[in-house]
Symmetry: D2
Subunit: 134 residues, 4 copies
């Protein structure tokens, strides 16, 4: 899905643009996106692996974006947890975000990051502040 | 402290270099570092705030680096938690990492991110895999 | 399923017995169990709600037990996260545990706690130390 | 400190009473408490260690109670993280809770559990919902 709204949302964000994010699927309580590998992601030239901070950023983005279909905006992250499962080698990354529980004041979402061969690299969850804006 | 060793460690890492990291203090179980603001950190042009993923990356780096004085290497992150306390506006960031408990197989460290006026922006902790390399 | 092995596992543990745990389903990477409400679970006589620590204990148990089918033993918890979604009122609790990623050194599992009407009360995940015992 | 207020707070809670909690110190942003060992805490008769869920409950209690001096009430836990550092053997437990950042809508606190010889057994942090009650 190339929703103009999503393209603009990412274009407005220098960081999300830098991650090369493209929304592939956006449904109620679900998002799938791809991030385009760039050389600055590399943690250590010797191994070429992608830094964990990039995976954390993708998990936070997708968990937050899972609420976008319902809320129409990205919301503040209260806190998040990330588990690292496998070393991420050079290549684009795919991230899937889902809503665990949408509440009035705050909501919990989860997300998983995969490599191009669909291997699970990292997963996590976050609490988001979803109270209506004053 | 401008330890050549630390400068080289960061120079070997495209991502840590991109964060503009400079180690200010490295003592047993403690590290202080500064990261140089760059325009790609901005989450949303309208507000200019730094993306949470950058703060998460700094917390992971400093928590991991708190073990560097003792281990002589950065170690794999098992998992981490980040709490966001205040919106991070444009500017360099400071991060302090400390060892909570160093174990044989895994260790727990914590870190806090501050702005230039020493306001606490985010804090967190991570589990690190510190078993000797085979 | 009333597997003698599971009944004995719980009987050996004063705490799991105190929680009144009964294993309902145990499959590879999955467990379902019920815990029998007891008056000591109440956080505050005024509201009668079950203390969050009980839900945390159930999440840790079910996340750990999700590995039992594969490992044949309960393993040490490295760390865990619990999200509280709804106040738990008086009544038995149901918990479902699943393996997120089983690794050689450590594994990540998740679990959710439900009330008798299948409402989600809490959910979370933990890292478990699954290296072979020396 | 044997503050009548604290004694009543614990007496009103069957679970906190069951934990045998006694508040030793309660200052702004800080609490120290002791929990009295009981045989139901044992995870496994063979080793006699205290179940992780008990340590999690103590961390949640002390992190929450660190706000009590300021707020005059215990508040809902949004989520929490617990790291396990050492096996807890038979004996009373001590827990120290501190405020990391008190906010208007939610606040972050941390806590550590020690054994009778002051060895660190577990530590963690939680997010608490501190908005004024409607």
């Amino acid at each position: 899905m190339k929703d103009t709204n999503h393209v603009e949302l990412i274009a407005r964000s220098p960081f999300l643009s830098w991650l090369g994010l493209e929304i592939l699927v956006s449904e109620p309580d679900l998002v799938e996106a791809r991030a385009s590998w760039r050389p600055e992601w590399v943690a250590n030239r010797q191994f070429g692996q992608t830094q964990g901070g990039i995976l954390a950023a993708l998990i936070d983005f997708a968990a937050d974006f899972a609420l976008y279909h319902s809320l129409g905006r990205l919301v503040p992250t209260i806190d998040m947890r990330v588990d690292y499962h496998r070393m991420a080698v050079k290549g684009d990354l795919y991230v899937i975000g889902k809503v665990v529980k949408q509440g009035r004041q705050f909501s919990v979402c989860e997300a998983s990051v995969f490599d191009e061969s669909k291997k699970l690299l990292a997963s996590g969850r976050g609490s988001y502040y979803t109270a209506p804006m004053e």
